[in-house]
Amino acid sequence: MRFGVVVFPGTNCEFDTYRALGEVLGLEVAYVWHQERDLSGLDGVILAGGFSYGDYLRTGAIARFSPVMASVAEFAERGGLVMGICNGFQILCEAGLLPGALQRNNHLQFRCAWSYLRVENNSTPFTNQTSQGQLLRIPVNHGEGNYFADPETLAELNRHGQVLFRYADAEGRITDEANPNGSVENIAGICNRRGNVMGMMPHPERACEAILGSEDGKYLFMSMVNHLKGRAACV
């Protein structure tokens, strides 16, 4: 089982993601350069956080046109697991692999802080090691993480269990105060209808070691591993 961490010019969380997967969880992991077209041999692809192409024009807007993204789309089409973290989520939305868009935080400031995520659907390849309603302590770090989707899309997402996480307070309540960016319905992470492509603004790779304040990020990566091993039911 092998994971790829995609590196665009301006990506800056690839070292962290590599460390979390490779060194902390002991998984096989490799960097994937943005000009790469060949994703064969990979079971999961992670688009790491950062500022691809400086976030110029619009977050993720340029990265979606890079050679590797065509391959990521094919990879997803074939059923491969794709996870977009932060800037990765933004790119997946721009590429049309996930619905909706990420706007500037409603308070217009960059926000780096711990957040609580309530698991809304634990029967996906990314959440099968969590329990429904479980609270995960994982930090956010973004200026444009304000998730938006039109009412029909939202209804679709909710109907099909595509909302994976919502921002919550320490007691698990979904409140405005717990929402770090103004995301509609406190949405922190979603997946596609098929369930093999997911995006989230919080950074699970920053929450995989106790010394850093939380190990809850491991649940997500281990869910992917578990799914790939075929032990969990595929959505």
């Binding site: 010019p9 500022f51 308070h107 770090n141």
Partner: protein, 773 residues
Amino acid sequence: MSEPVWTQVGLTEQEYRRVCDILGREPNYVELQMFGVMWSEHCSYKHSKASLKKLPTKGPRVIQGPGENAGVVQVTDDLAVAFKVESHNHPSFVEPFQGAATGVGGILRDVFTMGARPIAVLDSLRFGPLDDPKQRRLFAGAVEGIGHYGNCMGIPTVGGEVYFEESYRGNCLVNAMCVGLLRPEKIRKGVARGIGNSIMVVGARTGRDGIYGASLLASAEFNAEAEDKRPSVQVGDPFMEKLLLEACMELFETDAVVGIQDMGAAGLMSSSSEMAARGNVGLEIDVRKVPAREEGMEPWEFLLSESQERMLVCVQRGREAEVEAIFQKWGLLSAVIGHVTDDGMIRVKDGDRVVAEVPAHALADEAPVYHPEKKEPTYLAELRRFDPSTIPQPEDWNATFLKLLNSPNIGSREWIYRQYDHMVLLGTVVAPGGDAALLRLDSAALPGPHPATATSGVEQAGVARGSKVGLALSIDCNGRYAYLNPRRGAAIAVAEAARNCVVTGAKPVAITNCLNFGNPEKPEIFWTFDEAVEGIAEACEALETPVTGGNVSFYNETNGEPIYPTPTIGMVAIHPNLDRRVTPGFKQQDDVIVLLGQTRDELGGSEYLKVIHGVVGGDAPALDLAFEKRLQKAVLTAIHDGLVTAAHDVAEGGVAVALAEMALAAEPGAWGCQVNLMIPEGRIDSALFGESQSRVILTVRPEKMTQLQALLLAEEIPFQVLGDVTNSGRFQLTGMTPGVHSSSVFRRQTLIDLPMAEVEKAYKEAIPQWMGA
């Protein structure tokens, strides 16, 4: 034009004569521009050089001292850190977002040009009071700019400090410090060598931005036309710099590089002349070969442009294509613009035409060295005459305490650091908000090239895997102390920066400094500068933390009003065992709270005096460096003996505020404290809020108290057991004071008794009440 030629480039007539003597002729226009910028205060340190010689610069861990782009100290057998602090004050005052952003960009380049991968940024900020909308705009803009650059680069901003004082209203301070990780054998230097080797410009194109930044913006006072200088402020592109960083890290793996230097202040001019001077060689460069952003640039504009995200590299002859390929991979330009010569001249060509020919040493090393006149300012005697015993003590200690916690100089800095990515690279073990930032070496940061593109043999990860070694970093200066007593204030800045690291369990090893002062040509200003340097020297000698480099920022005044002398100290400390790391927050109910050090009856320069009584006066707190050293040693011993559950430096706001900060950072189940201060003599306000130096508050498990006592007695550290951690949700502080009828009979009186929620609200709202949530 009636103005003499020399004043147009910021030189004096005498300096101009000196140039003529060196050249044996009058300089032409381009040469005059070159001397103007290279002999500016910012580039030549002509007023500060003589004083700076007093600083201790040597120590067993120092690999690179002052004189290079950054200092370097050894951390473990195979890893070292490069670090430096620099100011970007005037640009930030003119345009806070870009000024602060490019300040960060510049200091990052200073560090990675040494061959180090940046792993942390810290900032030290000063503005006028926040009730002034202009100050709020400057503060918000600078914080956003710092965040913008660091966040985009993927380098965590892990710590800093901020003060709001009247004296910075017309001249804010934005100092940025960067720390980078490197393998000591891979250190790179800003030197040109080897006749015939190529000189290359890499990174961004050169435009007309930032021209005169070093001379007219950084080396002159401000007046009402400050805003007109906006064109002298550079514009940053952190995305470009991220690519430049990765390309440079990859470049350093080859032995094609002879030397490299950031093109910062005075751009191509300073980088070329300094590299040539260090290598005792000459350079011939053709400005037409520099990739330009616009057409029609004049030769002197190429030389003086401060366009960001560029480096000058000396490359082995014949290896240029290798360099080009690396930069191309990262989507960056590179161009050979000249070569190394043996005649020691900087020869600038515009195509075939020679437009300037000047000895490199004349530009880089032969600026006049001034020994400015100094005179103790008359205001000092007046300030120090203030007698705190003349002011009434407050009647409501609760209200006084809350008001102090609500001061933007004391309250929570979360509004700032939540705008900074302080976690990326997975090294941040203690985030901003404590005394010092604490990083682990065993992080995701690699001291080498990006493994995604580099050739085999490159480290993929885990350079310090399993290592328990950490780095504590702090940046400190209380400008008010330095105002009242420059020498002692500067020494306190060193002592406090060290203490902030010590309370995490780390041993201070070296400093970098950023000396922010007014116009050194004024004897009263220069006196404060020279005194402050003495103070730093004394403290660094005593605490064995040599100075590895830094930056002097003069002319911080507007319309003749100088800032407080602000000698900012950036400290690097090594934590030998992160399993023993200590943070300020209370950990557990019943932990015993102990105050180490001596509380003197002193209120001079305190935040209490300013906020409650509206007075800035008296003398800075006393400082006994020998005792400071003993205290720091004792605290480190106590921490590494496993006796300490929490530790915090006592600083602005005194014991009461220090306790509040520990209580507010508590773990669940330790929400509150009950303490009793013995106040056998002196005033209650100085016991609570006085800022006596060399004090630390520790907590310890009750069963370890005897062991701690034995240690403190053996080390001859005076201490007071204050009380214990509760979980009552209340902050309770009583005082034992001599009775009215008999001074030998002590009475206990309740001074502060508040719900923690109220304490928290006052502390948290300190900045948001002005800036919005």
